[in-house]
């Protein structure tokens, strides 16, 4: 004898009821659930704080970026002038030196960091005003200048 659809439905419903009854008897451990809920709350709080921080930092970062741009721009405007002045001094100072020693770098003679003598600290333009004879006379009397002239020559020799 074949079963009718109604009988199938009854049996299916009974199966579903039993499964649901078993399902509803499943419960988690309360201490585990509390831990999970705490974790959710803490994660949520962290997320909200992070979002708020991002929001509050945005204008600060924008201002800082603007200031940096302004400083960088002013440096860019100022730096070429300074470099231009330095370049002009080097160029001027190299003229009398070139006449004495072509292989000698003129920058070393005018660098205050490497030259502690009074001549090095004095304005280079003085040598220009005095003419080529000025440095020649200074070199003959000043030992420091002799050392600075000789050192590059030694370096050039060692390369060869």
């Amino acid at each position: 004898m074949k079963k009718t659809n109604e009988q199938f439905d009854e049996l299916d419903n009974a199966i579903d009821r039993n499964l649901l009854a078993a399902h509803q008897q499943v419960h988690f451990r309360p201490e585990w659930a509390e831990g999970v809920l705490r974790e959710i709350a803490s994660q949520d709080a962290t997320k909200q704080v992070t979002v708020q921080r991002h929001k509050s930092w945005q204008p600060v970062l924008a201002i800082a970026a603007g200031l940096l741009l302004a400083v960088a721009g002013s440096c860019w405007l100022v730096a070429p002038d300074g470099l231009r002045q330095q370049d002009s001094k080097v160029t001027v100072a190299s003229r009398p030196l070139d006449s004495l020693e072509k292989d000698t770098p003129s920058l070393e003679l005018n660098d205050p960091a490497t030259d502690s003598s009074e001549n090095a600290k004095s304005p280079v333009a003085e040598s220009v005003i005095a003419g080529p004879g000025y440095l020649t006379s200074q070199l003959s009397d000043d030992v420091d200048f002799e050392i600075y002239v000789v050192l590059p020559t030694i370096n050039t020799a060692s390369k060869r």
């Binding site: 004898m1 074949k2 079963k3 009718t4 659809n5 199938f8 049996l11 299916d12 009974a14 199966i15 579903d16 039993n18 499964l19 649901l20 009854a21 078993a22 399902h23 008897q25 499943v26 419960h27 988690f28 451990r29 585990w32 659930a33 831990g35 999970v36 809920l37 974790e39 959710i40 994660q43 949520d44 997320k47």
Partner: protein
């Protein structure tokens, strides 16, 4: 959306337990699913979407866990062994004989059919929602449900009618 999450905790845990059959693993799966929901809170707005989303995450994590376990262990667990272990917690707590018999019959079903039956009978999801959770087509859900019900009926029908109906109760009459 976070206010609704605690309401889903039991549901998520039950589904994780249904899939894994292990209390500790179910706790881990459920907890991770809940935390992922917190992190993805911006993209889920509707309560129904959250429910389906959570169940799907548990389903995906369970699949990942099974794959990882199969990779880890040299001796891969046979499907029948997974099926036997999965519903042990349900079986332990089932008091009534009929309930125990039903749960026992359900555990013999293949995993897909069990999940379909669980989501429809216990979570009361629709065919479409079940398809979304399991990431299969509604037709596949209907097919799995039909086969699962037929097998359950065959196992649970009264003894006096079992011999009479034979294989005829595999499907409905048209």
């Amino acid at each position: 959306m976070h206010d609704q999450l605690p309401d889903h905790l039991l549901r998520v845990y039950r589904f994780a337990l249904h899939l894994s059959g292990d209390q500790h693993l179910a706790e881990d799966l459920a907890q991770e699913a809940m935390l992922r929901a917190v992190r993805a809170s911006g993209s889920i707005n509707e309560p129904l979407a959250l429910k389906i989303w959570l169940l799907r995450v548990v389903e995906n994590m369970w699949r990942d866990w099974c794959r990882a376990k199969l990779k880890r262990t040299v001796e891969a667990l046979p499907e029948t062994e997974i099926v036997r272990d999965e519903l042990e917690p349900l079986e332990r707590i089932a008091q009534a004989e009929q309930v125990a018999l039903t749960v026992g019959a359900m555990r013999t079903l293949p995993e897909r059919q069990r999940s379909v039956l669980h989501l429809i009978a216990c979570e009361e999801l629709s065919i479409t929602e079940t398809a979304e959770v399991l990431q299969i087509t509604p037709e596949a859900v209907r097919s799995s449900l039909s086969v699962a019900r037929a097998r359950m009926r065959k196992m649970l029908q009264p003894p006096e009618t079992a011999s009479e109906s034979g294989m005829q109760n595999e499907g409905r009459e048209t």
